[in-house]
């Protein structure tokens, strides 16, 4: 008992520096933990970005391959015909409605999709959800772009007509 008492009393005597040591240790551990987490989150964020970029590319591919119902023409092909101004197989109103359904079905939760096609002075812009506006510069967004080409029969010049197409995935509701 005497030994224990003396130990306790000696501890009591150097209590301040002990507490300081413990406080510093605690602080350092917390800082190290925060640092570690910040690194981990950075990587997770990049991996998430990669998935969203992939999704954007798949969405673009889907519009390249899938055909408008009742027409043997892809969505991008039909949009290009409308934008370039050649004889349109798919009426514009029907195409807009049909494309809206496709975007609604494929867009990930919490994200909007914008499809843009442009050829000289003509363009087609469609955004899902309908009430969304074009994503601002600060909005996190992922874009994939390409071209749609139509070779126009009987054209004297500009036989090879091209429309620049781009698909943008952006966050909504933030």
């Amino acid at each position: 008992m005497a030994g224990l008492r003396s130990l306790r009393s000696s501890r009591d005597e150097r209590g301040v520096s002990d507490v300081l040591s413990l406080a510093f240790m605690f602080l350092l551990v917390i800082l190290a933990g925060v640092l570690l987490h910040s690194y981990r989150f950075g990587t997770i964020s990049s991996a998430s970005d990669r998935q969203l970029q992939l999704k954007t590319e798949y969405l673009y591919r889907t519009l390249e391959l899938s055909q408008v119902e009742n027409y043997s023409l892809s969505y991008l092909g039909a949009l290009a015909e409308n934008v370039i101004g050649v004889e349109q197989v798919v009426p514009g109103d029907y195409l807009r409605s049909s494309l809206g359904d496709v975007l609604e079905y494929f867009s990930p939760q919490g994200y909007g999709v914008m499809v843009e096609l442009a050829n000289e002075n003509s363009s087609w812009v469609q955004i899902y959800p309908d009430d969304s506006e074009k994503p601002s510069f600060e909005t996190e967004k992922f874009t994939f772009s390409g071209k749609v080409t139509i070779i126009i029969a009987g054209a004297d010049e500009n036989r090879v007509a091209q429309a620049n197409a781009s698909l943008t995935l952006f966050e909504v509701g933030r």
Partner: protein, 224 residues
């Protein structure tokens, strides 16, 4: 008092130890993080390269399809030969390739012009065309990832060979027919199963014939 000095020394040693360990840990984390980030960026570059190569391939194949249609339409107006169709479609297709591509983050996209070896054109038994081949293209991302090759494959609905044969046949027969309207009706009836539609008429004393293939349309319609 000795005990207190001892604690201060302990704290100092501990602090140095923690700082050293922290630096090592920081360096390790940073190296690992940088490696992971580079790996992810590289993977994104690979994904993008593959996606761009795939998009260019799809676009080229669609262009080839429209080139075939345009060539058939233009040559068909004067009942031109199959060789003329082939020549025109090759020219139009190469015009598209010559227009080139521009993608941000890509060092170069090189697609060589097509020729008889890289783009084969087959006339099918039903008179349609099947074009296929391979272009030795290369896609180089700024981060170094590369993709090679574009597979070509396109076919279009109009059976040009069959249409050309029938147009010449019916035109020859129409020249000898006493009643063109009756002959047109007969021709339409005979070839309705093949979904061909003839229009035979005289314009400024010259006999003209227009042949349409209803299967060649791009709109599905309900059968009556």
């Amino acid at each position: 008092m000795r005990e207190e000095r001892g604690s201060a020394a302990l704290l100092a040693i501990f602090a140095v130890f923690v700082i050293l360990t922290g630096l090592v840990a920081l360096n390790t984390f940073e190296t690992g993080y940088t490696r992971q980030m580079k790996s992810l960026q590289q993977r994104m570059a690979v994904d993008t390269t593959k996606a761009v190569a795939s998009a260019v391939e799809k676009e080229l194949n669609d262009s080839l399809g429209t080139a075939i249609s345009a060539a058939m339409f233009e040559v068909g107006k004067t009942a031109g030969t199959k060789t003329e169709v082939e020549e025109r479609l090759r020219t139009y297709f190469n015009q598209r390739i010559a227009a080139g591509w521009s993608y941000s983050n890509f060092e170069s996209i090189v697609v060589p012009l097509s020729d008889e070896n890289s783009l084969k054109i087959e006339w099918l038994p039903d008179g349609g065309v099947h074009a296929y081949g391979y272009l030795n293209a290369s896609f180089t991302h700024v981060l170094g990832s590369r993709a090679f090759g574009v597979k070509l494959e396109a076919g279009v609905a109009p059976r040009y060979g069959r249409m050309l044969f029938l147009a010449n046949l019916i035109y020859g027969m129409a020249q000898r027919a006493p009643d063109i309207v009756a002959f047109q009706d007969e021709a339409n009836e005979n070839f309705s199963a093949e979904r061909f539609s003839f229009s035979i008429y005289r314009e400024n004393g010259v006999l003209k014939l227009t042949l349409n293939e209803l299967y060649g349309g791009r709109v599905l319609t309900a059968e009556d």
